[in-house]
């Protein structure tokens, strides 16, 4: 299937080339950093984590958001997501890759990274992060690849793939939870040491991730035959709306807790990003830009008519993605170091080299994403392999044959049913006819009997006292007997 990445339009190749140029620039910048050390970043002894770890955090979230498509499909059998899920899984693969790359470029001594495996340390959250992230990456590659391979063959994925997809759901939640634990275990950093960090992370991830998935789907729809159903788009947009509302709510909980309680340890980092402290206000523009963007996004998503207008929806998704990125991909990590152990505020000034490295990791992610989506789309379009085309045609023909046979059967069955119904109607008509005749006869007999009785009564008016009623009863008894005798005759006539 991998050979499909080599067949594409000029635009496709141009895009890949542009990404390769960025990757090259990123690699050069990284070599520069390897030689000269992490002094080529904005980090300092006080702000010892910077944009690298922030990107790691944000993209772990994007990776985890794949479950927002997986849960409705696998747990609730929401069929609209059937064609979307493969892209959610492949996006998770690329996002985990970007996250891991940002860890690799962040460590000071990358040659020793394997020490994390050589000396496994269960009491370290980073160890667990490595475990869940690598598991999640592996699981998503396996699910995505086997699903698309099955689709190519026109079969359903094996049962174990489905089982794996179910396992991937808690795994996705776990990768972002564990990432949150990296922060919230640090008692010395009040901005991070909050129980709600994992919830905030998941909420913002479930907003930003599906937003990105939709945006990429729209781009693909523009340049390829890929179509995502309007119903799926609207459901994902609703997911984004709920998630971003939860995220805003959680953030406001932090704001309330900090400012109502008014403990300086908790207010200072928030004040730092909201208003600036002692003239240090470099993160304030990001905070308020994120707030405005997210509010715009929420308003558009909440109004059904606007949400279902494609242009407005794109604006809303862009706003929410960028807002979440500014919140988590910049502010959350940097504000955690404010103030430092001595009440000082140290600003973070990004280094151009560091930004180039980050762009390089994004380009690698986009490159892998493009190749994976290309494979999936090519398989969907069935353009690449004649054998596959023949196979799918054969299956289609077989299906048609089967359909024809089924239709014939149905016609026969309908005919038989019609005949049976007609026979039944005839029988009912005959019965009614017979009953009416019998009734008439009975009435006639009764009349005659009455007449006879009248005569008899008139005859025996004086002496004989024969009761007229007995005669009438006898007449009545006689009438049904006559009707019964008439019925078989009527049925025979009907047949």
């Amino acid at each position: 299937m991998l050979e499909k990445v080599f067949k594409g339009s000029k635009l496709y190749y141009g895009w890949l080339l542009a990404l390769l140029v960025l990757i090259g620039a990123g690699v050069l910048a990284y070599i520069n950093q390897l030689v000269n050390g992490l002094q080529l970043t904005g980090m300092s002894q006080d702000v010892n984590w910077g944009l690298y770890i922030a990107q790691f955090t944000f993209f772990v979230g994007v990776a985890a958001s794949g479950v927002m498509v997986a849960i409705p499909l696998y747990l609730h059998d929401y069929k609209e997501y059937g064609p979307v899920i493969i892209f959610g899984e492949f996006m998770a693969v690329a996002a985990v890759l970007v996250a891991l790359l940002n860890v690799v470029v962040d460590v000071g001594y990358p040659a020793r990274l394997f020490n994390v495996v050589l000396y496994p340390t269960p009491h370290s959250i980073l160890f667990w992060d490595m475990v869940v992230l690598s598991s999640y990456l592996l699981v998503n590659i396996i699910i995505g690849w086997t699903s698309i391979a099955a689709e190519r063959k026109g079969t359903k994925p094996a049962h174990w793939v489905h089982v794996l997809a179910i396992i991937a759901i808690p795994l996705a939640i776990s990768i972002h939870t564990v990432t949150a634990f990296i922060y919230c275990g640090n008692v010395g950093r009040p901005f991070w040491a909050s129980a709600i960090v994992a919830c905030r992370f998941l909420a913002s991830a479930f907003a930003a991730g599906p937003a990105l998935l939709l945006l990429i789907s729209f781009i693909m729809g523009k340049f390829t035959d890929y179509k995502i159903s309007d119903k799926a788009v609207d459901t994902i947009a609703k997911t984004v709306a709920y998630a971003i509302l939860a995220n805003v709510f959680f953030f406001l909980l932090e704001v309330f807790t900090a400012f109502y309680g008014n403990s300086p340890h908790h207010t200072e980092p928030l004040a730092y990003i909201l208003f600036g402290v002692h003239g240090h206000n470099q993160l304030v523009p990001f905070m308020w830009a994120a707030a405005v963007l997210i509010v715009i996004g929420i308003v558009i998503l909440l109004v059904k008519k606007w949400r279902q207008t494609r242009g407005l929806l794109i604006i809303a998704l862009l706003c929410i993605f960028l807002g979440c990125w500014m919140d988590k991909g910049i502010n959350f990590v940097l504000a955690g170091f404010v103030p430092n152990s001595f009440g000082e505020i140290i600003d973070y000034v990004p280094h151009p080299n560091e930004i180039m490295v980050i762009v390089g990791t994004f380009a690698i992610g986009a490159f892998v994403l493009t190749l994976l989506f290309k494979v999936a789309l090519a398989v969907r379009e069935g353009i690449a392999q004649p054998a596959a085309v023949a196979f799918s045609e054969a299956t289609r023909a077989a299906a048609e044959n089967q359909k024809a046979a089924e239709m014939e059967e149905a016609v026969e069955a309908a005919k038989a049913e019609k005949a049976a119904r007609e026979a039944e109607e005839a029988r009912i008509a005959a019965e009614e006819e017979a009953r009416r005749k019998a009734e008439e006869e009975a009435a006639k007999a009764a009349e005659e009997a009455a007449k006879a009785a009248e005569e008899a009564a008139a005859a025996a008016e004086e002496a004989a006292e024969a009761p007229a009623t007995e005669v009438a009863e006898a007449a009545e008894e006689a009438a049904p007997e006559a009707a019964e005798e008439a019925a078989p005759a009527a049925e025979e006539a009907a047949e």
Binding site: N36, G37, L38, Q39, T41, M43, S44, Q45, D46, N48, W49, V103, D106, V107, G108, Y109, P110, R112, L113, N115, V116, L118, Y119, T121, H123, S124, I125, L126, F127, M130, I182, G185, N186, V187, G188, R189, G336, F337, N340, S341, F342, G343, E344, I346
Partner: protein, 298 residues
């Protein structure tokens, strides 16, 4: 004692270089670290039995430090430590490396500092360093067991193993750790460095190790040696230890105790002793003064 005189007496390289380094460093004192020969004689007499269960700590008498010259005097202690351990001297405050340095009262004790504080307390310089916590955050978060707690309580670094993730720096509530953002060697001052002690490499975290190598040889940390009795070193779990004696006699505080890490660096306020000390009275061993530690202090 000059380096040359020293080398005439003993030919072991270590002794020579140590004397040379110290002579160049501060001119204040000479270290009495063990020579190779001395190790053979004293330490090797008994087989290694493992590190004993203890909790080493420091008691810093800030009043006495002030009486001996305050910041100026503490700077000589810092220089002794940094020169002995070849800590690079980097001017950029964002990248500077420190094992021990000073902060003001308000900064070092921001959580408990009084608003209206007496002038002396506010004016002291407070040496800060790794607190060798009883329950260290850094050890908990380290993914490779690079930093670990020795049985004797020292929070130790194994620089051979560090991947430079800086999780320990995020976790440390005391800001005690420094990361090598660049190759430290060009920033190690060659005239005052200690040739017998390794440097670190680019990309690893470092911090005060309480001079574990001197403790293993039966000596005491460099800062204690250089502090003329203002810093007392000892086992906090042993109620007869000198540090416990010192702590039982004066008011002391620790940094950020409410976090539960159990810092083991105590700051003692002891005006009385400080004034006696300033007047040149010999106090004996009760306050950590040991004459032999100050050998060559002319």
């Amino acid at each position: 004692m000059t380096a040359q005189q020293h080398s005439e007496r003993s030919l072991t390289r270590r002794n020579f270089v140590k004397a040379g380094a110290v002579a160049c460093a501060t001119g204040l004192f000479a270290l009495n670290g063990c020579t190779l020969e001395e190790v053979k004689n004293s330490q090797l007499a008994s087989e290694f039995q493992g590190i004993e269960n203890k909790q080493y700590g420091l008691a810093i008498n800030v009043s006495m430090l002030d009486a001996l010259g305050g910041q100026e005097f503490i700077d000589t202690i810092i220089a002794a430590c940094h020169n002995y351990h070849n800590v690079p001297k980097i001017d950029d405050p964002k990248k500077s490396m420190d094992w021990i340095w000073t902060q003001s009262y308000e900064e070092a004790f921001s959580d408990i500092a009084s608003t209206y504080v007496d002038e002396k307390t506010a004016s002291y310089a407070y040496p800060v360093m790794c607190n060798h916590c009883t329950d260290p955050q850094c050890v908990r978060v380290c993914p490779t067991q690079t930093t670990f707690k020795r049985p004797d309580g020292i929070v130790m670094m194994d620089y051979h193993r560090c991947i430079g993730c800086r999780f320990c720096m995020s976790a440390c509530p005391y800001g005690a750790r420094s990361f090598n953002f660049m190759d430290p060697r060009p920033y190690v001052e060659k005239e005052s460095m200690n040739p017998g002690y390794p440097t670190r490499s680019k990309g690893v975290v470092e911090k005060c190790t309480l001079c574990y190598e001197l403790i293993d040889q039966g000596s005491v940390p460099v800062c204690v040696q250089a502090a003329y009795g203002c810093i007392t070193f000892g086992d906090l779990t042993d109620e007869n230890s000198e540090i416990r004696q010192v702590l039982s006699q004066a008011f002391s505080i620790r940094r950020r105790v409410e976090l539960g890490t159990g810092p083991n660096v105590y700051y003692i306020f002891d005006e009385e002793t400080a004034s006696l000390y300033a007047n040149g009275l010999n106090l004996g061993g009760a306050h950590g003064f040991e004459g032999d530690l100050l050998e060559g202090g002319e």
